[in-house]
């Protein structure tokens, strides 16, 4: 399968203090890659580097074989859509206006949306089951509804890659499953490649095809959920005692925590 994004030995961070150290990875079509790791490990920074919200200090990233650093933001936005953790919108745009903004990378400054753009936006709304919300104001929606609208906006960009930075951290368990089911469906039916930063190890284990465990800006472990989510890996990085068992229904690894066993002074 085609390699969409290739990351070769990048270092990067803020104020020339590298948060990410010598990371290499490849994202292929229809990948579902999870990035997990302790706080401050560089998960979000890696995602920002890969979408050029941040320029790497060292290393090279190529998007479909082209150097990411040489592409304009507009060209990148036609290939990569980015969903942040929490989108706080103070202006009361309607859902329809928000979703249409996904067409910005495809239109020139003087151009307004045409029939094709409307039908793409409408399709994104129906894929995310938000058609009934389209004339509502974005600031009136619940957190779960809003996140689905933001995903619809991202789909309207018609991206090859969808980056998400902890998109479910403010949602209850029902809405978490709803969002991730939606992503899994888009991944399977539409061949959309997904890279998702997750705090919740079990969500990562359940949905991701591959997982990167990031620690101190470096890849600590990379592989299938079964390979990465072992008690040895988790215990050594998160400094706590855990038990890993299979979910009896899906047979995916689940991390169970054991209270009162913080391993601070050991090692």
């Amino acid at each position: 399968m085609d390699t969409l994004l290739k990351v070769e030995g990048i270092c990067g961070g803020y104020d020339n203090k590298p948060v990410i150290n010598n990371v290499s990875l490849e994202i292929k079509q229809a990948d579902f890659l999870g990035i997990i790791g302790p706080n401050g490990g560089g998960k979000s920074t890696l995602l920002r580097l890969m979408s050029r919200a941040l320029m790497p200090i060292k290393g090279k990233i190529s998007l479909e074989g082209r150097d990411l650093a040489r592409l304009s933001h507009k060209e990148i936005a036609r290939k990569i859509a980015f969903i942040p953790q929490l989108t706080l919108i103070n202006f009361s745009f309607t859902v329809w206006e928000i979703v249409l903004m996904g067409r910005i990378p495809h239109l020139s400054r003087m151009q307004s949306e045409g029939k094709i753009d409307f039908s793409i936006a409408e399709r994104a709304l129906s894929l995310t089951d938000t058609l009934n919300l389209r004339n509502r104001r974005i600031d009136e929606l619940s957190a779960g509804e809003r996140q689905r609208v933001i995903i619809a906006k991202a789909l309207t960009q018609e991206p090859l890659l969808l980056f998400l930075d902890e998109p479910t951290s403010h949602l209850d368990i029902g809405h978490q499953v709803q969002i991730l089911d939606l992503l899994a469906e888009l991944n399977q039916k539409n061949n959309l490649s997904i890279v998702i930063v997750l705090h919740d190890l079990n969500l990562a284990g359940e949905y991701c095809k591959n997982i990167i465990l990031l620690d101190n800006g470096e890849i600590f472990k990379q592989g299938t959920p079964e390979e990465v989510l072992t008690y040895q890996n988790i215990e050594s990085l998160y400094k706590t005692v855990v038990v890993v068992k299979d979910n009896p229904v899906t047979l995916k690894p689940h991390v169970l925590l054991v209270p009162g066993n913080i391993k601070c002074k050991q090692e």
Partner: protein
């Protein structure tokens, strides 16, 4: 699930169902036209329509036309600048004078007056003062080559306070005549002194608004958030620089001939958003119509309320604008 389930009255933003929107715009345009007619018919000198169009009053008619044009130009420019700054800074309190333009122009005008410059040169001094001050504010607020939103607000406020103090100091030490010469300016004024100057300002403001309009969709994206706009392919830093440059140019041009007319650039953007929503493609043109109507009506009050003497326009915009805004705000909360 089709749009049949939608509650009534929420269809206005959908392109196929914008009847409510069209009606609102037609209503605003009608108010605007009425305000223009009122602005020409009413003035500090009371003349009937027939007297006004007669040959001997030709000059008064010309002056009134010029004044109407200046009112439209100044109010449109100020409201568009307010819209841009509120979107870029994502701050509801942002207004055109936030960048220090008003106090910078004030200092320059007072210095020019104290040095005994002819009143003809005052607008030029004010324009240069405004531009230099905004450059100073940008310079202070720059963080690693980027314009920081919070530092821009802070440096604008600090520079404004410092320059206001300088204005007060200069005025307290100057002669009475200078004081009178500058007071029209600090309170705002729509009187046209020079047709060429009016033409130049109209050109700058019209071009500025037109170019700003081309960035409507970028402004929509930036008002959601800078990071979000970046991921939609908007070159945020470049767009911010271009728009801030346009804002300071427009504000400086208006301030050089009208002085400080407060409130319009702060309130009209909010009122327009309450009426038609935050989409900049509509917001920019509709705010021009709305602000012009508002300014012309305020100016009619200013000229006729205690005629033949005039009240400073800035006083009227604040006194009339505040209650209108409060009523609209309360009404939109109830909804």
């Amino acid at each position: 699930m089709k749009n049949k389930e939608l509650p009534f009255g929420q269809k206005m933003h959908f392109p196929n169902a914008s009847f409510g929107l069209k009606r609102k715009i037609i209503l605003l345009a009608a108010i605007f036209i009425l305000a223009v007619i009122l602005g020409i018919l009413k003035g500090s000198v009371n003349l009937s329509f027939l007297e006004l169009i007669s040959r001997e009053n030709r000059q008064i008619l010309h002056l009134r036309f010029a004044r109407v044009i200046l009112a439209i130009v100044a109010s449109s420019g100020l409201s568009v600048c307010g819209i841009v700054l509120q979107a870029i800074l994502r701050n509801p309190l942002a207004e055109p004078y936030l960048l220090g333009t008003s106090s910078g122009a004030g200092v320059a005008a007072v210095i020019a007056l104290t040095l005994g410059a002819a009143s003809f040169y005052i607008p030029f001094a004010a324009f240069i003062g405004a531009i230099l001050t905004t450059l100073l504010v940008y310079y202070i607020s720059r963080e690693r080559g980027k314009i920081g939103v919070h530092s821009l607000i802070l440096s604008g406020v600090i520079v404004s306070i410092a320059f206001s103090a300088i204005i007060l100091f200069l005025l307290s030490t100057s002669e009475r005549q200078t004081l009178h010469g500058i007071s029209w300016w600090l309170w705002g004024n729509l009187e046209v002194f020079d047709y060429k100057l009016l033409f130049a300002v109209t050109l700058i403001v019209a071009l500025g608004i037109f170019v700003t309009y081309l960035f409507s969709q970028d402004l929509n994206a930036i008002s959601i958030g800078e990071e979000e706009a970046l991921h939609l392919g908007v070159n945020v830093e470049l767009v911010k620089k271009i728009l801030l440059f346009l804002v300071s140019l427009i504000t400086a041009a208006i301030i050089s001939v009208c002085g400080v007319i407060g409130f319009v650039g702060l309130i009209i953007p909010h009122i327009t958003r309450l009426v038609i929503g935050p989409n900049h493609r509509l917001l920019i043109p509709v705010s021009c119509i709305l602000s012009s109507a508002f300014m012309l009506l305020c100016d009619s009050f200013a000229r006729t309320l205690f005629s033949p003497s005039e009240i400073p326009i800035g006083v009227i915009t604040a006194i009339v604008g505040a209650p209108i805004f409060i009523i609209l705000l309360k009404k939109s909360e109830v909804k």
